[in-house]
C-alpha cells in the first residue's frame, strides 16, 4: 500500500488544475504525504465511531474525473465573481493564493487530505466588500460521474467586508458504489453575513466537509435538511477568529431504510463576545441510524462566550438508532454554555388531542412530525426555498 496515492497522483499528470505562481502544487504535495501517512478513515478512529465510513470506502478508488460543474444560470449581480474553481486557478485569481487550502486542515483528516491532493474542480464565489446580494446564489449539485470511486469536488466561497449573501445548494448525489468527498472553504469577512441552506435529498454516499472562517462581527447561518442518502456525513467546522461573531448551525433529518446521517460540528470560539447556537432535530425510521456530535471549544481568551447546543430526536421504529454526543471544552471562565440531547417517541397525548378533533391518526402523526421540523425550517429566511424544503419534508413524511 505504500506510496499508493503518490503513484495515482503521478499518473494524474495535468488532470489536476494547478498554476505556476500559486503554491497550490506545494499544498497538494503536503496533503499527499499526510494522506500517505494516515490513510483514509476507519471506524477505529474516534471521529468516525459509529460511522459506516469503513464499509462505504471499501473497494473505492480515487476518481480523477473532473466533476462537471454546471454554473447557476440565474442572473447574478455583476459585482459577484462566480466561476468554476479550475478557471479561477488558471486565471491566477489572487484569492486562490490567499485562501485555497488554508482552512481545510489536513492533519489527521484523511478525506480532507485526499480532496486537497486530488480535487479537480468546484465552484469559486467571491462577493466583494460592501455588496448586498439580494437574490440567493444557487450552487450546482455535485454528482459522482459514471466511473464511480471517490470524487473530490472543491468549493471556495469568500464573502467580503460588510457584504451579505445567501447561498443555496441542493444535494450531493452519488451512487451507492461511489462517494462524494466534498470540501468547501468559506471565509465570512468582517461584519459580513452569509446564510447557507442545503437540501440533501438524493441517494448515494457523501462526506461533506465545510470549513468556515469568521472574521470580526460576522454572521454565519447554516440550515441543512437531509431526507435521503445511503450515507451522509456532514462535517461543519466553524472558527471564529474575531470578536462579536455569531454562528448558527441548524439541521433537520428524516431518514429511513438502512440509511445513515451523521452531523459532526466543531465550533471554535477563539475571541471574546461571540455567540454560537446549534439546533439539530431529526426523525429516524425503519433501520436508519443517526449520529450527532457537537464539539464546542471555548479558548481561554474567548470571554463572554455564549454557546448553545441542542439535539432532539424521535425514533419512529424499534430498529432505528441514534448516537448523540455533545463535547464541550471550555478554557475561559466567563461563559454561558448549554447543551441538551433528547431521544424520544412521538408525544402520544398530542396525537390523541389531534385525533379527538377528527383528524385521522396518519395525518395527525404527519402534522406532529412536521411540527417537529418547524423549529429548524423556520430558520430558512429565503421564502421560496423554505417553501420548497417544507414541501419535500411533507412529501417525505407522507411516503412512509
Amino acid at each position: 500500500m505504500a506510496e499508493h496515492y503518490k503513484s495515482i497522483f503521478e499518473s494524474a499528470g495535468n488532470k489536476l488544475p494547478d498554476n505556476a505562481c500559486s503554491n497550490l502544487s506545494h499544498t497538494r504535495e503536503n496533503a499527499l504525504s499526510e494522506l500517505e501517512s494516515i490513510g483514509l478513515p476507519n471506524n477505529r478512529m474516534e471521529y468516525w465511531k459509529y460511522s459506516r465510513i469503513g464499509k462505504v470506502l471499501k473497494g473505492l478508488e480515487v476518481n480523477l474525473g473532473l466533476a462537471d460543474e454546471e454554473l447557476s444560470s440565474l442572473p447574478l449581480p455583476s459585482s459577484v465573481e462566480y466561476s468554476s474553481l479550475s478557471k479561477a486557478i488558471a486565471d491566477n485569481h489572487p484569492l486562490i493564493e490567499k485562501h485555497l487550502g488554508k482552512y481545510a486542515g489536513i492533519v489527521n483528516a484523511g478525506l480532507t487530505a485526499l480532496n486537497t491532493a486530488f480535487f479537480s474542480n468546484g465552484i469559486f464565489i467571491h462577493v466583494p466588500d460592501d455588496t448586498v446580494v439580494e437574490d440567493p446564489i444557487y450552487l450546482p449539485q455535485h454528482s459522482a460521474n459514471a466511473d464511480g470511486g471517490i470524487v473530490q469536488p472543491r468549493n471556495l466561497i469568500v464573502v467580503g467586508r460588510n457584504s451579505s449573501v445567501t447561498i443555496i445548494s441542493e444535494g450531493t448525489s452519488g451512487s451507492t458504489d461511489a462517494m462524494i468527498n466534498a470540501i468547501e472553504e468559506i471565509v465570512v469577512g468582517e461584519n459580513a453575513s452569509l446564510s447557507q441552506y442545503l437540501l440533501q435529498n438524493d441517494e448515494g454516499n457523501s462526506v461533506n466537509g465545510s470549513y468556515v472562517l469568521q472574521e470580526r462581527d460576522s454572521r454565519y447561518s447554516r440550515v441543512t435538511t437531509t431526507l435521503n442518502g445511503t450515507f451522509v456525513r456532514n462535517n461543519v467546522n466553524v472558527r471564529m477568529e474575531g470578536t462579536g461573531c455569531e454562528s448558527n448551525l441548524y439541521g433537520y433529518y428524516h431518514i429511513r431504510g438502512k440509511n445513515q446521517v451523521d452531523n459532526h460540528t466543531i465550533i471554535e470560539h477563539k475571541e471574546p463576545d461571540c455567540l454560537s447556537n446549534e439546533l439539530y432535530v431529526g426523525l429516524l425510521d425503519e433501520d436508519a441510524s443517526g449520529i450527532f456530535n457537537g464539539r464546542v471549544m471555548v479558548h481561554q481568551d474567548a470571554q463572554r462566550t455564549n454557546a448553545f447546543q441542542s439535539n432532539k430526536n424521535i425514533l419512529l421504529s424499534d430498529n432505528a438508532t441514534m448516537n448523540t454526543k455533545p463535547e464541550l471544552e471550555i478554557y475561559a471562565d466567563d461563559v454561558k454554555c448549554s447543551h441538551g440531547a433528547t431521544i424520544g417517541q412521538v408525544d402520544q397525548e398530542a396525537l390523541f388531542y389531534l385525533q379527538s378533533r377528527g383528524i385521522p391518526k396518519q395525518i395527525a402523526m404527519s402534522m406532529l412530525l412536521q411540527g417537529f421540523s418547524i423549529e429548524v425550517t423556520d430558520k430558512i429566511v429565503d421564502e421560496d426555498f423554505r417553501g420548497k424544503v417544507l414541501e419535500q419534508i411533507l412529501d417525505h413524511l407522507n411516503t412512509g
Binding site: 398530542a350 389531534l354 379527538s356 378533533r357 377528527g358 412536521q370
Partner: protein, 254 residues
C-alpha cells in the same frame, strides 16, 4: 344520544370506573360533579377514546352505534367533542392550520365540501367574536405558551367551530376569570339546541348558574352514586362531599 351502561375501565390493572350508568338525550344538559380523583376525567377520556384506559366491562353507544369500537377520530367526526381538562401544548403545529384540518376532516366525513381558506377565515372570525378569543392565539402553535384561561377558551373556540352534537366539557370553568366564565357559558348556551347535548364536568355551582343543567350526577369512587335536578349541585355547594363519602364510603370497602 349517549347511552352508557355499567361501564368499567381500568388503567394498568387498577379499576377506576366501576360501573357507570348515564343516559344523555338530545337537548339535555348534564352536570357531573364529584371529589378529586373520583373518575370524572377518566369517564370523559374513555368516551373520547383514549387508549391508555382498558374498558373492562359495560357498553357505551352514541346515536345507537357502539362508541367503544370507534377510533377517537371517528367519534369526533360523528359529532362528539371533549374539552380537555388539561389541553396539551403542541409545538410546531399552527392553531389555524390545525382548526382548518380538523373542521375539514369532520366535514369530509359527513359528506360536506371542505371550506376553502377564505371561507374558513370568515368562520373563524365569526366564532372568535362569540368566544372573544384573541386573534393572536390562532397564529401561534396549538396551546403553546397559552395561559391556563386561554387554553380553556381555546377549547370552547374549537367547539364553536366544530359544532358537535355532544360536548363533554371537563372542568372548562376552572382557570377562567369571571368575564371569561360568562363568555364561555354564553358560547355554550348559544350553541345549545334541541339536537345537541352537553355534559359539564365541574366542581363549582358558579358555571351552573349560567348553564342550567337538567340533571346533576355525583360520581364517587368510579360510580354515579346520586343523580338529581339542578338543586343537587346547590346541596353540594352547601354541604360538600362528606355526606356522600359517609353514605357510600363503606360500600367500596365492603
Amino acid at each position: 344520544m349517549l347511552s352508557v351502561k355499567d361501564l368499567k375501565a381500568s388503567v394498568e390493572e387498577t379499576a377506576i370506573l366501576k360501573g357507570i350508568n348515564l343516559e344523555v338525550k338530545a337537548g339535555e344538559v348534564h352536570a357531573i360533579m364529584g371529589p378529586n380523583g373520583s373518575g370524572k376525567s377518566t369517564l370523559a377520556s374513555v368516551l373520547a377514546g383514549r387508549e391508555e384506559y382498558d374498558v373492562t366491562g359495560g357498553s357505551a353507544t352514541f346515536d345507537g352505534e357502539d362508541l367503544l369500537e370507534m377510533s377517537p377520530e371517528d367519534r369526533a367526526r360523528k359529532g362528539m367533542f371533549m374539552a380537555f381538562q388539561y389541553p396539551v401544548e403542541i409545538p410546531g403545529v399552527n392553531t389555524t392550520n390545525f382548526l382548518r384540518t380538523s373542521l375539514n376532516e369532520v366535514r369530509k366525513f359527513n359528506g360536506l365540501e371542505p371550506l376553502n381558506g377564505a371561507d374558513f377565515l370568515k368562520l373563524m372570525k365569526e366564532k372568535m367574536n362569540v368566544i372573544e378569543i384573541d386573534k393572536s392565539l390562532t397564529t401561534r402553535s396549538v396551546n403553546e405558551g397559552f395561559s391556563g384561561g386561554e387554553k380553556k377558551k381555546s377549547e370552547i373556540f374549537q367547539m364553536a367551530i366544530l359544532e358537535p352534537k355532544l360536548a363533554i366539557l371537563d372542568e372548562t370553568d376552572s382557570g377562567l376569570d369571571i368575564d371569561a366564565l360568562r363568555i364561555v357559558a354564553e358560547g355554550v348556551n348559544r350553541l345549545k339546541s334541541s339536537d345537541n347535548a352537553t355534559v359539564i364536568i365541574t366542581h363549582y355551582q358558579r358555571l351552573l348558574d349560567y348553564i342550567v343543567p337538567d340533571f346533576v350526577h355525583i360520581i364517587y369512587d368510579g360510580r354515579i352514586v346520586k343523580s338529581g335536578g339542578k338543586d343537587l349541585a346547590l346541596t353540594l355547594e352547601e354541604k360538600g362531599y362528606d355526606w356522600i363519602k359517609e353514605e357510600f364510603g363503606e360500600m367500596t370497602e365492603a
